[in-house]
């Protein structure tokens, strides 16, 4: 109850800042529109206005403040504009019985979600396999780990079009192509977290296993793996968010099939800022949902495993 109140206060503060920020951000456009409509604007020439800063223009035209919230293509759309767009493209489309039409965000969100899940599953498996082999083989640790790190410094968006081209030449499904890019982003946090987790048992615990004459696999299943669980879940949360980003980025180059990334791109082509923001918020909501789901599994699992919170 108390935390709900705090969250709502923080959110209300953010909304208030957002609304206030809209005024200077959209002032130039508002002044131009008012000038065309024959209203009094200071200063009068548009060349002078263009040279002026946002804030000074805002201060000089207090009577235009109200008009910044109703623009077609604002620099910074107001929250309610984004909200209306979100409502129209989700619930509004369902009400019209066209929940899966091309204009519906539900369809685009589903396209992105499916690619995200494919990439997340691939990435988690790859990450865990790599981490286990890194912890158990010195050769793997010494040779692979530096390159795993180096692989993340490659800007994925740069090679995303190339991956798409190569996979298309090999006649791979688009879903898998996007999944590969998601996997590329999501396996890294899993590797880093799992290596840290698998190495987290203390010397004393490892020595204890040794005195019990435990084999390597027993040490792995009974000590290393259970004690890596908190690290694994922390990594999975990062990984699922990363694989959503991967899917969105991949959709920038596979935009003919739709998806939230394709909506972003289309919005930025046509200067539809409201559409950009609503696609961003939808992606954020999707990410939050995924992270929350993993968090729920984490809470139950860790509690049953006896990790005290």
């Amino acid at each position: 109850m108390k935390s709900l109140f705090s969250i709502l206060t923080v959110l209300a503060t953010i909304l208030a800042i957002w609304y206030i920020a809209c005024i200077p951000m959209n002032m130039h456009e508002a002044a131009t529109q008012a000038d065309r409509a024959g209203q009094q604007v200071t200063p009068e020439s548009s060349a002078e206005r263009r040279k002026m800063g946002r804030l000074s223009l805002t201060v000089k035209n207090p009577d235009l403040w109200g008009s910044v919230y109703a623009q077609e293509r604002p620099q910074l759309p107001a929250p309610h504009q984004v909200g209306v767009e979100l409502w129209n493209t989700t619930v509004g489309m369902v009400a019209k019985g066209r929940a899966l039409s091309k204009r519906s965000l539900i369809l685009h969100a589903w396209i992105t979600l499916s690619a995200t899940l494919v990439g997340f599953v691939f990435g988690t498996i790859l990450g865990i396999v790599l981490a286990v082999s890194i912890v158990h083989s010195r050769a793997m640790d010494m040779s692979v780990m530096p390159w795993v790190i180096a692989s993340q410094t490659v800007p994925i968006i740069a090679i995303a079009p190339m991956i798409v081209v190569v996979l298309a030449a090999l006649q791979v499904d688009d879903l898998i192509a996007k999944g590969v890019i998601s996997m590329y982003l999501s396996f890294f946090p899993v590797v880093v977290g799992m290596v840290k987790g698998l190495r987290s048992p203390r010397r004393m615990d490892l020595d204890q296993m040794k005195t019990w004459n435990a084999s390597r696999s027993e040490t792995f299943w009974k000590l290393r793996l259970p004690s890596s669980a908190p690290y694994l879940f922390a990594s999975l949360k990062v990984g699922v968010a990363a694989s959503l980003i991967g899917a969105v980025v991949a959709e920038l180059s596979l935009s003919q099939n739709g998806g939230l990334g394709a909506r972003l791109l289309a919005g930025s082509y046509y200067g539809q800022t409201v559409q950009i923001w609503s696609a961003l918020l939808a992606a954020a909501a999707l990410a939050a949902l995924l992270v929350w789901a993993i968090g729920a599994v984490q809470n139950v699992t860790l509690k049953r495993m006896g990790f005290s919170k």
Binding site: R138, M142, P146, I157, V238, L244, A283, A284
Partner: protein, 278 residues
């Protein structure tokens, strides 16, 4: 086919050598093993491209990329300065220090902890790269818009990690500080910040790659005629993939060096953590 079989044989030989060498602990082995592994990958790549006669428009061989890399070194350096030193690094420093300061404030106030942290977790999972076109629209084509996107990208992962780290000291240790009658700054600098260091470095390490990616991606949406993202997008259009791969190589080298520096600092500062005592 000789190229394919030759490179596969090289791979097996190098792997056998690496497995043997990795049992030793000398310093040169620690550098030699990953280097040999990297060389193996390049040899495999070269062998496959030549053996299967893959079109260089699809995948150029490393030898062609190396030639372009050496030939265009001054262009690559200019791009690196624009993207990494001006955009990524300044954004990284601003974003990370702002996040640590905010985290301390959040840790101090239970109200912010309950309110800001869930919101921060939410934003950390946002595909913030998607905001790049918006930031370019707001801050112009120069490095400032790249630094801005980097600040936003690194801020929330860093914040979440630091707050988690500040809470990681055990109740017993906090009680002990309490019985010592330690003041807040004393508790912060002597217990909580040191205890938070593994988490802070986790955030710093994640942020290094985010900073590179953010700065490069932002350049796709507009940049002066310099910068790695700009170069990649224009050279892909010209199908000059050897130049694209050269830029990717630069990004990988610089990014790894950056990560390595942070990891080195971690090793020095958190020498006491179990994961550092392997």
């Amino acid at each position: 086919m000789i190229w394919v079989w030759g490179s596969l044989a090289f791979w097996l030989a190098a792997w056998a050598l690496n497995t043997r060498l990795s049992k030793h602990k000398q310093t040169w082995v620690r550098f030699f093993v990953p280097t040999l592994f990297g060389i193996t990958l390049l040899v495999l790549w070269e062998g496959m491209v030549r053996g299967f006669q893959i079109n260089p428009v699809l995948l150029p061989p490393p030898s062609a990329i190396g030639k372009t890399f050496v030939g265009e070194i001054s262009v690559l350096w200019g791009d690196l300065v624009q993207t990494f030193f001006k955009g990524a690094l300044s954004g990284y420093v601003i974003g990370c220090s702002a996040a640590v300061l905010t985290a301390i404030a959040v840790d101090r106030s239970p109200f912010l902890q309950r309110g800001l942290l869930p919101v921060g977790n939410f934003v950390a999972a946002l595909p913030i790269v998607g905001m790049a076109p918006i930031f370019v629209m707001w801050f112009g084509f120069g490095w400032q818009s790249k630094a801005a996107i980097v600040v936003v990208m690194v801020f929330f992962p860093m914040l979440v990690n630091t707050v988690q780290g500040l809470q990681s000291s055990e109740a017993m240790q906090r009680d002990l500080m309490h019985t010592y009658g330690a003041s807040y700054p004393q508790r912060l600098f002597k217990l909580r910040l040191p205890a938070a260091m593994p988490f802070i470095f986790n955030g710093l390490k994640i942020s290094t790659t985010l900073a590179m990616i953010g700065a490069i991606v932002a350049e796709f949406f507009g940049s002066p005629i310099q910068g790695m993202g700009f170069r990649i997008s224009t050279e892909v259009g010209k199908l000059a993939l050897d130049m694209v791969w050269s830029e990717i190589a630069v990004a990988a080298i610089v990014g790894s060096a950056f990560y390595g520096l942070v990891a080195l600092a971690e090793k020095i500062i958190t020498f006491w953590h179990p994961s550092q005592r392997g």
